[in-house]
Amino acid sequence: MSAPTIEVRIPTILRPFTNGEKVVSADAADAADLAQLISALDAKFTGLGERLLENGELRRFINIYINDEDVRFMGSLSASLKAGDSVTILPAVAGGC
């Protein structure tokens, strides 16, 4: 049986870091919160962390969602994670209307 994981969706612009993979996963045991998840991903995909973080904070034009909710309103890097969660990374774009 494989270890419980957290699924992470990678936007096109960051796929060069994940060998083109659209969805990657991390072991839930290594990712109790978002900061740990990013460290775990960076260990696997060198350079990815630096594209997501700047001076220890989320980059201004990066949005990350846990189960469709924006992490900036859930404690940002300390937002907690559990096995089965789905994480989506997206660049900030202008909405419609």
């Binding site: 201004r60 924006d70 774009v93 202008a94 909405g95 419609g96």
Partner: protein
């Protein structure tokens, strides 16, 4: 009073409609959780953007930026352009809209009907590209009047002085306000007003999650956060994809008879999620959400039909 001196004067005071069937049932002995839809399609050109457009033009006239016969320039994915096109036609201005090429055909047809000129921006990058192209054009054409809804305080102010007060007047017990996040004007303006009236109110943002093309930026620095955005006004923010949005907009039609545009489905999805949490927590709630526009402009996408497939929205800017 339902008599107005002109079409523009009929702006706002849109109905707040209860959704008795779509509101979730509370647990036995627990207070009601009620959903309320503010029908912004009942505005002069059929969307919430009439508030923004009229406020920005009024402000530009007042400050002397906008002179008779002037040309207005605006990046838009449709509704703001349509509102501006009507007002420009009536007041005698020219309008140039910069619009992403991946929007529904009806938006182009309506814009042209009111005499607007359209400059298309590339599909990849979505509204970010429209904003970038419009900013370039504004710099190259200093005689054009660049209203710029993403950074114009008149946009936020319109919702602070109209949308917010209207909701509070109709529903003083409002506990949650849910709206779409585009220019952020609705959430910033109405949200700020409502929080002043009730510091405990939850202000919930529903952001459309598009297909990959729209996020196809050349680099991360091409990302965009509207100048009007102030995260401190927001309590929670949800990203809602096309599938959930289409499912909800059809539910709204089938269960309550309200025919809304696709972005309203995203907003309703967030509102229903919050409503469910309130039911589970056994707390009462009055959740007001915005119906941005009617579904007419999106019929060509085919998503409203029984066989309607949200995947057709993949490369489109559907909100």
């Amino acid at each position: 009073m339902t008599r107005y001196e002109s079409l523009e004067a009929s702006l706002g005071h849109t109905p707040l409609i209860g959704l008795p069937k779509l509101s979730p049932k509370s647990l036995p002995g627990k207070p009601a959780v009620r959903l309320w839809a503010k029908l912004e399609d009942r505005n002069p050109t059929g969307s919430i953007k009439d508030r923004t457009a009229i406020a920005m033009i009024d402000d530009a006239e007042k400050t002397g930026k906008l002179k008779p016969g002037a040309t207005i320039l605006e990046p838009t994915s449709g509704n703001t352009g349509i509102s501006l096109a009507m007002v420009a036609k009536v007041r005698g201005y020219n309008l140039i809209c910069v619009m992403p090429e991946n929007t529904s055909i009806e938006r182009t047809q309506i814009l042209e009907m009111w005499g607007a000129k359209i400059i298309y921006s590339p599909a990849a990058g979505g509204s970010n590209e429209a904003v970038r192209v419009a900013k370039e054009l504004a710099a190259e054409n200093p005689d054009w009047v660049f209203l710029y809804q993403y950074g114009n305080p008149a946009n936020t102010l319109a919702h602070y002085t109209t949308t917010g007060p209207e909701i509070f007047e109709d529903l003083p017990t409002v506990t949650h306000f849910v709206a779409g996040l585009g220019t952020t004007g609705t959430l910033m303006g109405a949200g700020k007003f409502l929080r002043e009236k009730n510091p405990n109110i939850a202000i919930i943002a529903a952001e459309p999650r598009y297909g990959e093309v729209v996020y196809g930026l050349r680099n991360l620095d091409a990302g965009f956060v509207p100048e009007l955005y102030d995260a401190s006004v927001i309590t929670r923010r949800f990203s809602v994809g096309a599938e959930d949005s289409v499912r909800r907009v059809k539910e709204l039609l089938e269960v309550e008879g309200i025919f809304a545009g696709i972005s309203t489905g995203a907003i309703l999805h967030a509102a229903l999620g919050v409503a469910k949490e309130c039911v589970e927590a056994g707390v009462g709630a009055d959740i007001a959400f915005i119906v941005c526009d009617g579904g007419w402009k999106y019929l060509s996408t085919g998503v409203y039909g029984k066989e309607g497939d949200p995947e057709v929205l993949d490369g489109q800017l559907w909100a």
